[in-house]
Symmetry: C2
Subunit: 610 residues, 2 copies
């Protein structure tokens, strides 16, 4: 499979060009250096075109010319300094890495922090994140997760409209910016997760179809023709995306890939693309002697994704658990729109704890069919859970964070459920201090018809709501600017306390063996539907902890099944120090097998014994 | 899930009607008995409509009326006496079964004989098959496999255009005809396999969309919108087809279902329809204390279909092995068109023997991508193999059977490869005596535009051939009549000898433990690419047999790896008694670990030791 796709610098000032363009008979590279040149590539097997060119060093910009006619950026461009429609640039792969000691992290130790590069800082660049890393590390975060950075049209976008999967967004600072950020993370002991999109390309600047059958009309997706993962010539399409994954983990030292919405990858083949992708990344991880993970987002509740290949699974490492989020969100907010209709009871959250998926074959009234299969056998470290993420916040009409939907008590409760769970937690940037800015949907397309289509789509999506105001205009720069974090809030009283509460939760999670070891087996869960409360006990050897969560707006007195022994209270969200209205729970209890505990409204308490 | 879908007779002369029609607010049944009546059904949960009606006994014809407007046959009609557009008829489920001792057959003992009901006899009915059963039993056949019998438009069709999955074709003799045939088979010790089509409905008389979302535009198939197996309300669509499968095995005592082209079932859900279907049939088999099998046809070479559920598979029982056919066919004919381009070497047939699939991840030049996954671990009894079947014969422009393509020597060779293989064999009706009639593609639609579309499709399909004659007209009754078997050929000299040769092969297959026990593990295969020959040794305990197949038009002298011992020749296709030109192979050989054997052109020899 060597040489690599794209423009690769060789020794002696030469550059090698390799492009898959089976739809072109003749491919030339048009080099835009001082002596502008047109160099023919030679056509090889299965539609590849290839040349080694003297003196097209790093910084040299180029287009491909197809059959003497169409001029196009490189499908595997590593940099688009002038945006998606402009020339590609040859990139120097050299970088002064200082992370040679870094071997990655086991999944069990991941505490994700999801970042939108543009909205995280005023500058909106990758490098601008670096000064904030120490703060995150002090919070206890172990991994930042970047929303997609692949080149998208314009200067602002969530990233899911990317069209150059190998190029780091120019307005984010390009490939060098990403390397600097990863290097800074690794030297601080932080892992970096990158969100990659292998289910579609964006609607503007997608020139791949001019090169080859990257897409197929045989299947459809919400975004149009599906990526061609199982029809004729799909081997080369798979190579393209697998090389992309390997490029990030190898050249950028990325520690995990979050795969966007894999349910939109239509691939009923005998050797599923996702299995092949996972195997390739794991093989590379072995070669690099690093821990590298593949974490799909999926809407299917299909345990097959994350079962081992030996057990007939696809062998991916973990997946996002939307069910956990929905079960928690509905208990916190009482919302019942759309997919929230399937949740809202304590039993749902209890099942999220014991099983992983809440829907494992039950009838879903939202989907109007049975949904999912069992995940009870799947280890806890294979589920990523959150109280909010870019989708759950940003896909709301007004982009409200949880901080705008529930009380301060509710925010602490949510944090506790996520961070004391046996799953891999994810925080959405700013949630740790109760950021008040919305996270809105924003784009920056150049085609007015496309902009109008996006606006129309948004209006239709939310037409079921009787909202009398204006839906924020995705194309308006203000919509983007309003979504930026206000980091100074961190220092304001209530926000500071919440931030401290998150820090304490993470500290306890890491410190107590019963919380640090992720296991659904060494766990007891009891739901109190009437009281709207949940009891979760976890243990590791003799180390034991239990938490009780009261979702009700009233105090709840519960008889909880606590093993005999002496229990110390480690955390009580109702205490005044955390901004609560005071707690009546004693600092220690001596249990005789069951204890009565009275929790304040929307509060949690954590006890420990060893 | 009770009561059953459709019109079911209850005690006391009452009939229960149950229909899933979520797209209708109001459903009535219009009974066409003496006092023509319109009886309203009451709407229940999830779109079901239900009524119990007095005195609509067996023979009563009816339509459903939807919202006071459209008049439609029952989607679960059990009989369409006037064809696909006419009324449905209430059917008496009583039948005087005489097969109470019948428990079915293990897959290992199946020797299939595929029958097209219309073309098998001059009468073209199910009952007309009965007088021919003894002949088939004497041949050694253990199971007849019926091409689809579900009601299709007109009086002649392969059966894959069926639109009433629960109704036995009226021109075949309806449900009573099928019961009589199955009863006659079982009392003779013959199993009955039924070909069922769950991937689409035919283009004429398909009224299902008026009742509910049986189809979805979300996916496409070669026949239009896909059956809705995973979108909203798909639970009821699944119920419809699963009840269909259970109807055949329960009410008709069918022993196995052959599922047509399951690769056209688009269903990426967490609980695949095929898994649910298999589980339901297996559960029913347990309840009925009979052996019942589910045997998909699939174009994917995906072992997951037939792996156990414990191993992450879908748990179906066996699948057709097209690769085996193609490997054999290309060696016999030298053809290399279309999918035959991927075959043609001895190594392909050798791999079909050792693995099952020939393509288990290798690049397929026909598909222009890698194809399949490994099947090496899958037991031999999970593969059905043949030298010809309705598709491989009938999808040729001129419908030529192998008898029209290869010499008499080649026909015996083909029979030996299939019947001495460790897989489950299938014969296509008439191949056992070298039937000379073609098996052509035929239809009998009533819509001229549809007829023209089918004709055009056929012309386009075969446009790559430089054929100067006329492509047989699918709608012309002569095309159907030309496809009928000429059973009297059986008694003509050459044909009679071939028939005897098949009988002898089957007799040996059943008699020798080394051949009767299907195992890929207790087998040694050696290919001779230069000589175009294949050696296959099989054993069961001390019982051993080996066969050598020479596909070349020249004699071949081979050094074959025969274990030391005394070997008796049991069958030699080159002998004059079988119509060969004489053989020089001795009747016994004494091997010292390797033996030299000289086979005549296109011949096979079978040796045995115990």
């Amino acid at each position: 499979m060597s040489p690599a796709l794209g423009a690769t610098q060789l020794a002696g000032g030469r550059t090698e060009f390799l492009v898959w363009a089976p739809r072109a008979e003749r491919v030339e590279v048009r080099l835009l250096d001082a002596r502008e040149r047109l160099v023919p590539l030679s056509a090889g097997e299965r539609g590849y075109h290839h040349a080694v060119v003297e003196g097209a060093g790093s910084g040299c910009r180029f287009f491909y010319r197809l059959d003497g006619d169409k001029q196009r950026p490189d499908p595997t461009s590593r940099f688009q300094p002038e945006g998606v429609h402009g020339p590609s640039e040859v990139v120097d792969s050299m970088f002064d890495w200082q992370d040679s000691a870094w071997r990655g992290l086991p999944l069990e130790r991941f505490i994700h922090y999801e970042i939108h590069v543009g909205a995280f800082t005023p500058e909106g660049t990758l490098e601008a994140i670096v000064p904030r890393l120490d703060e995150l590390r002090e919070l206890g975060i172990t991994a930042i997760e970047l929303m997609p950075v692949a080149q998208f049209p314009g200067e602002r976008n969530w990233g899911y409209d990317g069209v150059c999967p190998f190029a780091v967004q120019n307005s984010y600072g390009g490939p060098l910016g990403l390397k600097k950020l990863v290097n800074a993370c690794h030297t601080r002991g932080l892992a970096v997760v990158l969100d990659v999109v292998y289910n579609h390309l964006g609607p503007e600047g997608n020139y791949l179809a001019d090169f080859g059958p990257y897409f197929t009309d045989f299947y459809h997706t919400p975004w149009g023709p599906a990526v061609n993962y199982d029809r004729a010539e799909s081997d080369e399409v798979r190579r393209y995306f697998i090389e992309n994954a390997l490029y990030w983990v190898t050249d950028f030292h990325i520690d995990a890939l979050r795969l966007d919405a894999v349910h939109a990858i239509v691939d009923p083949s005998a050797r599923p693309f996702l299995e092949e992708l996972g195997a390739a990344v794991h093989k590379r991880a072995e070669e690099l002697q690093r821990q590298i993970w593949v974490i799909p987002e999926s809407d299917r509740n299909d345990g097959r994704l994350i079962r081992t290949r030996e057990a007939g699974g696809l062998g991916l490492d973990a997946q996002w658990s939307d069910d956990f989020h929905h079960a928690l969100h509905t208990l916190l907010t009482g919302e019942s729109d759309g997919y929230y209709a399937d949740f809202g009871k304590i039993e749902h959250l209890a099942r999220a704890f014991t099983d992983g998926f809440v829907y494992s074959g039950q009838y879903s009234s939202n989907r109007r069919r049975r949904h999912g299969n069992t995940s009870r056998d799947i280890p806890a470290h294979r589920f990523v859970v959150c109280a909010q993420n870019h989708d759950q916040v940003g896909n709301r009409m007004l982009g409200e964070r949880l901080s705008q939907l529930v009380s301060f008590d509710g925010l602490r409760l949510a944090a506790g459920v996520v961070l004391l769970s046996p799953f891999v937690p994810l925080l959405f940037m700013g949630e740790e201090y109760g950021e008040t800015a919305p996270f809105l949907y924003f784009i920056h397309h150049s085609d007015p018809a496309l902009v109008e289509a996006v606006r129309k789509g948004r209006r239709e999506e939310f037409s079921r709501f009787r909202w009398r105001g204006e839906i924020p205009d995705p194309q308006d720069e203000q919509t983007f600017l309003r979504s930026k974090l206000n980091h100074e809030l961190r220092r304001n009283s209530g926000h500071r306390v919440l931030n401290e509460f998150y820090r304490e939760l993470i500290r306890l999670r890491k410190q107590l063996p019963s919380l640090a070891r992720l296991s659904k087996a060494d766990m007891e869960v009891a739901g109190f539907e009437t009281e709207k409360a949940l009891f979760v006990r976890r243990w590791s050897g003799s180390d034991q902890a239990f938490a009780v969560y009261n979702f009700s707006d009233s105090p709840a007195t519960l008889r909880v099944p606590v093993p005999s022994g002496e229990w110390q209270k480690l955390l009580d969200s109702a205490e005044e120090r955390w901004g609560g209205s005071g707690s009546s729970i004693p600092n220690a209890i001596s249990s005789q097998g069951r204890s009565s505990i009275t929790l304040g409204p929307r509060s949690l308490v954590l006890f420990h014994a060893d």
